[in-house]
């Protein structure tokens, strides 16, 4: 008893040391993941709901407006609110803070930007002393009479909480109104279509890659060594050239007076050049070419491990090769199909440069709009919200695939 107990303790101790070592070895990876993967995603989630602009610029006004509501048409805040607003404008630490708030308020209704900025410029030239006499409300009304409209105050209040569902709702073409959550007007509905389009393009690309890649991978396994190397190079070459160079090369090949159209017209196949680029055909051709290695390599890897005598065995038992393919070969390649297609899909869903260069306005994907909001309008809340939509969309497809094929299969663990 004693001996076996101490043996157990010793075993426990030594295995604990081993665990410690493995934890220490994993530490760099874990901290790397935390800092460069989880943290940015967390920040993105935070950006999509954080709404500090009005509180930063107008702390006193937001405070004074607390618990008030402006539901009825004739409702206007009382003088203390207008006084607080004047204080906020005069004591603003910088025009920058006001500018951020103006941009934020303008999302509620186009035009508020100029209202805030004109008022800010008016009060910048003035000091505390003017606040002593007269009515703040009248002064503000004189600068811009929108300050005395209830609809402005309703919008102001809606835009003022520290956290807002505004961006996430807008990413789904929804908005908050006094009556509850509604869809935005028809001509403003962009984002749902955009998400569906992104998933559609990614699906078509990954399916096309599978249809082209499956026989190619099978051929690579069967072919002689020389041909195998040539094929592998052909697949890998686009992988090693810059994305931009490849995309531009395709423009040269596919454009109206490009190589392909010229060749087809010389051969007399067509009389008029066909539109192969700056439309959906162009996007699919170029994206499939660029993403093919992502499908072929996992497939090739799996097919290489399938012993060739399996098919012969099936044949020797009287199975037709087609039957053998469906009952023996195909099920064995499922892991490769699952991981290759899913990998292609995920990479394709995040595409941005290629559709921008070779697509028309109809083929722009989520990535394009994320870049648009990040760089052009500096609406980082909206960019984050769309980023979340993209992640959620990809995750949904991933989970669906995991249910159908199994997570371990997708990861290639079997």
């Amino acid at each position: 008893m004693d001996a076996s107990e101490s043996l157990a303790v010793a075993h426990h101790r030594s295995s604990r040391r081993k665990r410690m070592v493995s934890v220490l070895l994993l530490l760099p990876l874990v901290s790397y993941t935390a800092v460069f993967f989880l943290l940015p995603i967390g920040m993105m989630l935070y950006r999509a709901v954080s709404n500090p602009e009005l509180i930063d610029a107008f702390p006193r006004t937001v405070q004074a407006l607390n618990h008030r509501s402006f539901d009825r048409d004739a409702d206007l805040p009382e003088e203390t609110v207008f006084k607080a607003l004047e204080q906020d404008f005069i004591k603003a630490t910088s025009l920058g803070v006001i500018g951020d708030a103006a941009r934020r308020l303008n999302y509620e209704n186009s035009g508020y930007r100029s209202l805030i900025m004109t008022t800010a410029r008016y009060y910048r030239k003035r000091t505390q002393t003017i606040l002593q006499a007269g009515s703040a409300r009248e002064r503000l009304e004189a600068v811009d009479n929108r300050w005395t409209t209830p609809v402005l105050w309703r919008d102001f209040q809606r835009a003022s909480p520290a956290y807002t569902p505004y961006y996430l709702l807008a990413a789904l073409d929804l908005k908050q109104t006094p009556e509850g959550i509604e869809r935005v007007p028809a001509h403003q509905r962009v984002n749902l279509d955009l998400t569906l389009r992104t998933l559609k393009i990614a699906s078509i690309v990954s399916l096309s890659c599978l249809i082209l890649g499956f026989p190619l991978a099978a051929l690579m396994v069967k072919a002689s060594r020389t041909i195998q190397i040539v094929l592998l190079l052909a697949v890998m070459l686009p992988f090693w050239t810059s994305l931009l160079a490849r995309t531009s090369a395709w423009i040269v090949v596919l454009q109206e007076k490009g190589l392909l159209n010229t060749l087809l017209m010389r051969l007399g196949v067509i009389d008029q050049p066909i539109a192969l680029i700056f439309n959906s055909i162009g996007v699919y051709i170029v994206m499939v070419h660029i993403l093919l290695p992502f499908t072929v390599l996992p497939l090739y890897n799996v097919m290489k491990g399938i012993p060739s005598h399996y098919m012969r065995a099936s044949e020797s038992m009287g199975g037709h090769p087609i039957r053998g393919f469906f009952y023996v070969y195909l099920p064995l390649t499922l892991t490769g199909i699952g991981s290759g297609t899913l990998l292609t899909f995920i990479v394709a869903a995040g595409y941005y440069v290629t559709p921008t260069l070779v697509g028309s306005a109809r083929e722009q994907m989520l990535g394009y709009y994320i870049a648009f909001y990040t760089n052009t309008t500096v609406n980082w809340g909206m960019a984050s919200a769309l980023g979340i939509v993209l992640i959620a969309g990809v995750l949904m497809v991933y989970l669906l695939a995991a249910r159908l094929v199994g997570i371990r299969q997708i990861a290639g663990l079997r």
Binding site: G99, V190, L194, E256, A361
Partner: protein
């Protein structure tokens, strides 16, 4: 530990300290391409020679993200930056730019007063005009935006910049709105509908471009029959042997600005560069290199007529032009852009 390693570490740490102690070189950022080459020739190289200042050049495609990031992190790596009027105003309001003091610019007196904004000095006037390939239509090509819509007489694809700004103005002018009435009309709901309805008419014929070089490449490659394009780019293409006429009628023009990033350690040098770029000689050299409008009145009066007639600001060219209304776009960009994007994607 071996010697080379310690020495390398010492050098490395010294250079790291060096970075934080000594100010970096003056960094000037513009939109790249033919325009930046003209800047380099007319401004940056002569400036570096005369003042013995080292200049680092960078280029970007517009937008405020980088400026915002560097000002927010209090580590500005840019100093002097070219910006369009819209973005300059936005950046100025958000506190990303230094306010420009005219008193620190010795050439300010020679410069058109309209070229001074709170946070910027006018760099040049650019213009978007209609152009086409004479190989396709001879000299009898389209002469106005209304002609741009006439796909029967002049068949083929049309190039327009993929954005609401300028496109909606062009649509209204094509629909017969006078240039000076355009923004009055566009500000109303009915005017907005009218612009989009007009765009519907040629939607299948539009090929959207995003960078200034694209429309001319496509025009030269035969993908486009006609296009809206920046006048400077067209002039450069014509220098290279193409024959693309500039239709100044109903041109859309605006000013680009030089700005200084807030909190730059090179404020003094930035002002010196700004002042140099405003001088008459430098601006004449710029207008020779690329035909964009210049702000220095003295330089303008000394320009030879041959050169002058290619500028967007030449009296004959500007007569029927439309000045882009920046305050209008600052207020309406977000909702018009959303609607435009939605419309274009359907």
């Amino acid at each position: 530990m071996s010697f080379p390693f310690t020495r390398a570490a010492a050098v490395l740490s010294l250079s790291l300290i060096g970075c934080s102690v000594f100010a970096r070189d003056l960094t000037v950022v513009a939109f790249g391409g033919a325009m930046q080459e003209a800047f380099e020739k007319a401004y940056f190289v002569p400036f570096a020679q005369q003042t013995h200042t080292r200049i680092i050049q960078d280029s970007y495609a517009g937008g405020l993200a980088k400026q915002k990031a560097m000002v927010d992190s209090r580590n500005p790596t840019w100093d002097v930056v070219q910006m369009d009027e819209n973005e300059m105003e936005l950046a100025c309001d958000q506190g990303l730019l230094e306010e420009v003091a005219q008193t620190r610019l010795s050439h300010a007196g020679e410069v058109n007063p309209t070229a001074f904004a709170t946070c910027g000095v006018g760099a040049f006037v650019w213009s978007e005009v209609l152009t086409y390939d004479t190989k396709k239509f001879g000299e009898d090509g389209p002469k106005s935006w209304a002609d741009f819509w006439n796909v029967k007489k002049w068949p083929g694809k049309r190039g327009l910049r993929k954005q609401a700004r300028m496109t909606l103005e062009i649509a209204l002018m094509a629909d017969g709105v006078e240039p000076k009435e355009v923004y009055k009309v566009l500000a109303t709901q009915a005017g907005e509908e009218r612009a989009f309805k007009k765009l519907d008419e040629i939607k299948p014929y539009i090929q959207w471009w995003e960078t200034g070089a694209q429309p001319l490449e496509w025009l030269a490659a035969g993908n486009l029959a006609m296009t809206a394009a920046y006048n400077g780019r067209i002039a450069i293409a014509n220098k290279e042997g193409h024959h693309f006429p500039l239709i100044w009628n109903q041109q859309l023009y605006s000013m680009d600005y030089w700005t200084i990033i807030k909190g730059t350690p090179n404020l003094e040098a930035s002002y010196t560069l700004l002042d140099f770029m405003l001088s008459a000689d430098a601006q004449k050299a710029f207008a020779h290199a690329i035909p964009y409008g210049i702000a220095n009145q003295k330089a303008l009066s000394e320009l030879d007529p041959e050169n002058l007639k290619n500028l967007p600001t030449a009296p004959d060219n500007i007569k029927t032009g439309l000045l882009l209304d920046t305050p209008f776009w600052l207020n309406n960009e977000e909702h018009l852009m959303t609607r435009f994007t939605n419309w274009a994607a359907q």
